[in-house]
Symmetry: C2
Subunit: 229 residues, 2 copies
């Protein structure tokens, strides 16, 4: 699958997290686990597709997410850290997030994949810009790859065209996704110190523009689907 | 993950299907779907692992199976055939096979992955030798790759060491797997004509050695785990 890269500059501009100094191992562990969890969700969504073409196409999305996981995991191993150990502190929170979004119809799960990956990739690519050394650029490069969002959008558009009631269900579900996913992003900021050594989340004033940018990108994704954000 | 290739000659020797002329598109479609189904099973097994290291390791197995699926699917597309269309005739049988083996404990599912992939890779790599042109060699090369059987064996050995009752459960389960999996292999022979244009399954005499070879390899896999086949 061709993976057109979006401009890194644009992404880092959009989710600017200036002066924040995330811990490299914690960030890698958290995002590696998010990607492992997202891979499992994606392959489960693929397996539930009734159309064999959709099933294969979403399996490609799962494969792209898995590749992201594998690269982040290799980065940890290159740093001499077992990826399971690095991911472990983040499993409980992320599993809770997954469970909250798990009980849903198939189209809802496709939407979750699209919106959750979109928002978290934006956020963590921005946060990675503050990593020391070349790690930040590499993490951002991995997260900025297109995992196949057009496939997911296409499947959703087909579903929306076929079932007039799906739109209101998905609009409602989209609001739930954005709320829960912002909490995942926010909890990553608890680990992060600003240049004065304070937890980033103590400064609402600095975080608010970041969250606003994430919400604006989310709204554009919903708009593209013709859904009210 | 390094993938030591086993010798193609040895594999083709072991499961010799002389004079059989399988249909290329049918064989590719069947094996591509088997691999898609096996990938989904593998990623579900990974997701159910309680140990995060096992979960990552089995995810690598899933990724290797997915790569096999993707390559077979590309071969179909290169032949101008949509892979979903080529896979479609085989979904009902293979889904039935999966359902029969689905309801099991976690270690049983790991064993299913190990034995089912082992037997079917042996069988289809042998059958592919009869394909015209370079397709046979390429299919055999894809199927002869090690998907990570040592990882699965390691997980099973750990489970067997920790729980003395697991051995008899797995021995029983192994017999069920081999029976059901041989049926999957056998049903592929229904499509295949021999050099006289007769369905291969009409000649028990010729098929029996093939099945015996598959069972012998299965028994070696069980022996390695200390289980009675």
């Amino acid at each position: 699958m061709p993976r057109p890269r979006r401009g890194a500059a644009r992404r880092v501009d959009r989710v600017a997290l200036p002066d924040l100094r995330p811990d490299t191992d914690a960030l890698l562990g958290r995002v590696a686990y998010l990607k492992l969890a997202l891979f499992e969700s994606a392959s489960a969504v693929a397996g539930r597709a009734t159309d064999l073409g959709d099933r294969e196409a979403i399996t490609r999305v799962a494969a792209a997410v898995l590749e992201q996981h594998t690269e982040l995991s290799s980065m940890l191993e290159d740093r001499g850290i077992a990826s399971a150990a690095a991911m472990h502190p983040f499993t409980a929170d992320i599993d809770r997030y997954r469970r909250r979004l798990a009980e849903s119809g198939w189209h809802e799960s496709v939407l979750t994949l699209h919106l959750s990956a979109g928002l978290l990739d934006d956020f963590f690519a921005g946060l990675a810009a503050g990593l020391p050394g070349p790690a930040g650029g590499r993490v951002a490069e991995v997260l900025e790859r297109d995992i196949g969002h057009d496939v997911l959008v296409g499947v959703l558009q087909q579903g929306l065209a076929a079932d007039k009631r799906l739109g209101s269900r998905l609009a409602l579900w989209g609001r739930r996704i954005v709320g829960d996913t912002l909490l995942v992003a926010r909890s990553a900021l608890d680990d992060v110190r600003d240049d004065a050594g304070l937890p980033a989340t103590t400064e609402e004033r600095r975080i608010e523009p970041v969250l606003n940018d994430l919400i604006a990108a989310h709204t554009r994704r919903m708009d593209r689907l013709g859904l009210t954000a």
